[in-house]
């Protein structure tokens, strides 16, 4: 518990300078998140499932910026019948953002999810596709495929091929959307219980940064002209966010696209951090701050291959 407090304090100290309201930012980092979920419409009608849930959770709240996201008053929806039969998926609200950003290129298309486990976004995309089209869900660790497979099975996802590869050596594959939701220092999940319990080290940024650059580079290299590459993390660290995107747009034939989700308060990407200066284009990326929407934190960049 003490280690947790220490990590929270370090996050507050490191990023208060970037937050528009440091007091609110610090307050939100210290307060736990409520459990959120989405309805899996592959397994039934949204309104009927919600009605069932409201039989025992009278305080289910809708989310203004996502028509399939809800916040529960319970903290153990994993013990519900709806969870057991795959009618709901427990997912942090900001984790639902990347598929929404690429909503226009998802339907009936081919999606390559480069780092898919445990499958939150893969299953969300499959629901948005209504099991049409094709998702290639890749992960590099065998142990993580178990949770990915388990979630695909429980939610009844039939349009997915699961692969086990280090994405940097993945065979060139044409897709309409490359989802590069990379491993990261996960600071943005600090409000969830039992998360980032490991000790947090400054040099993790460099380690993750190198890995992330390799992954998004590979996606940009194999992407055909006109396709979309979504890069996302759940960390505040500019080393893992704007720095990566700034370098990628300088090195690859890609351009950044603006992002807007109605009702979701975001801030734009930053162009300076601890002596580093980034390409001004990275302002088109979005940062989601915990105190803006009462969520975790996220970073999303939408790139288009030229």
């Amino acid at each position: 518990m003490e280690a947790f407090q220490g990590i929270r304090q370090e996050i507050i100290e490191r990023y208060s300078i970037l937050a528009d309201n440091p007091t609110e930012f610090a307050k939100s980092i210290r307060s736990p998140l409520k459990q959120s979920f989405r309805i899996n419409t592959l397994k039934g009608d949204k309104e009927i499932i919600l009605e069932q849930l409201r039989n025992y959770d009278h305080g289910i709240a809708e989310v203004p910026w996502n028509d399939n996201a809800y916040v529960s008053n319970l903290n153990n929806l994993g013990n519900s019948l709806e969870h057991f039969v795959g009618q709901i998926y427990i997912q942090e609200l900001t984790s639902m953002v990347p598929p929404l950003v690429a909503k226009d290129v998802i339907a009936d298309n081919t999606v390559l999810d480069c780092c898919a486990a445990p499958g939150s976004k893969t299953t969300q995309i499959a629901t948005m596709m209504q099991n049409q089209g094709h998702i290639i869900a890749n992960d590099c660790r065998h142990v993580r495929l178990k949770s990915l497979r388990g979630n695909l099975d429980r939610l009844g996802v039939t349009n997915t091929t699961v692969t086990l590869r280090d994405f940097k050596s993945f065979p060139n594959t044409e897709a309409d959307l490359y989802l590069v939701d990379v491993p990261c220092s996960s600071e943005g999940t600090i409000r969830k219980k039992n998360t980032i319990a490991r000790m947090w080290k400054e040099n993790d940024y460099e380690r993750f940064s190198k890995l992330q650059k390799g992954l998004v580079n590979k996606a940009c290299e194999m992407a055909p002209s006109g396709s979309t590459i979504l890069y996302s993390t759940c960390t505040f660290a500019p080393e893992e966010n704007e720095r990566i995107i700034s370098e990628i747009i300088g090195e690859q034939s890609v351009k950044l696209k603006s992002i807007e989700i109605n009702g979701l308060k975001t801030s734009h990407g930053i162009t300076e951090w601890r002596g580093e200066v980034y390409d001004r284009e990275v302002e088109k990326c979005i940062r989601i701050w915990p105190h803006h929407n009462d969520t975790g934190a996220f970073f999303v960049a939408r790139l288009e291959k030229c």
């Binding site: 019948l81 009844g156 065979p171």
Partner: protein, 149 residues
């Protein structure tokens, strides 16, 4: 390693779905069928060139002496089932989802063999009715202590 399932066995499994559960072949006709290790049958999208999959789509059967439908299959397609369904009560659903066998008070109107187990219109998964006991067929990894239902 997955390989395509031959059309003859696809036909037999489709007939089984119709004969045993009343699930029409049209529910499964848009899928490609595969068979993998331990005689597991999958349905999913077309396989891709140059990509070696770990799995495709979902596993719907395990072939033994007779086809054994999976809980995943019945949870997804069970809503189209018209027969060999056993409806259970709240306390029984809690027990069943936690991996227990059930001994129903009254004999259900089903043929012995694999059945779909249902609670309040929700398909919980696969069971095996031997005429006396409803044997639990839910995989251990899916066992759950239900608190909200």
């Amino acid at each position: 390693m997955l390989r395509k399932l031959d059309p003859e066995r696809i036909g037999l499994l489709s007939e089984y779905c119709l004969g045993r559960f009343g699930i029409g072949p049209e529910r499964l006709e848009d899928y490609k069928w595969y068979i993998g290790s331990k005689n597991r049958v999958y349905i999913g999208p077309e396989e891709l060139e140059r990509i070696r999959p770990e799995s495709i789509g979902i596993c719907i059967f395990r072939l033994d002496r007779t086809p054994k439908p999976t809980t995943n299959f019945l949870q997804l397609f069970g809503r189209y089932a018209t027969k060999n369904i056993i409806d259970i009560q709240r306390d029984e659903a809690i027990e069943y989802c936690n991996g227990k066998n059930l001994d129903p008070d009254s004999e259900p109107d089903v043929d012995p063999g694999f059945v779909a187990v249902r609670y309040k219109n929700r398909l919980l998964g696969c069971g095996h009715w031997d005429g006396n006991v409803l044997k639990n067929q839910i995989p251990k990894s899916r066992f759950c202590k239900l608190r909200f239902l």
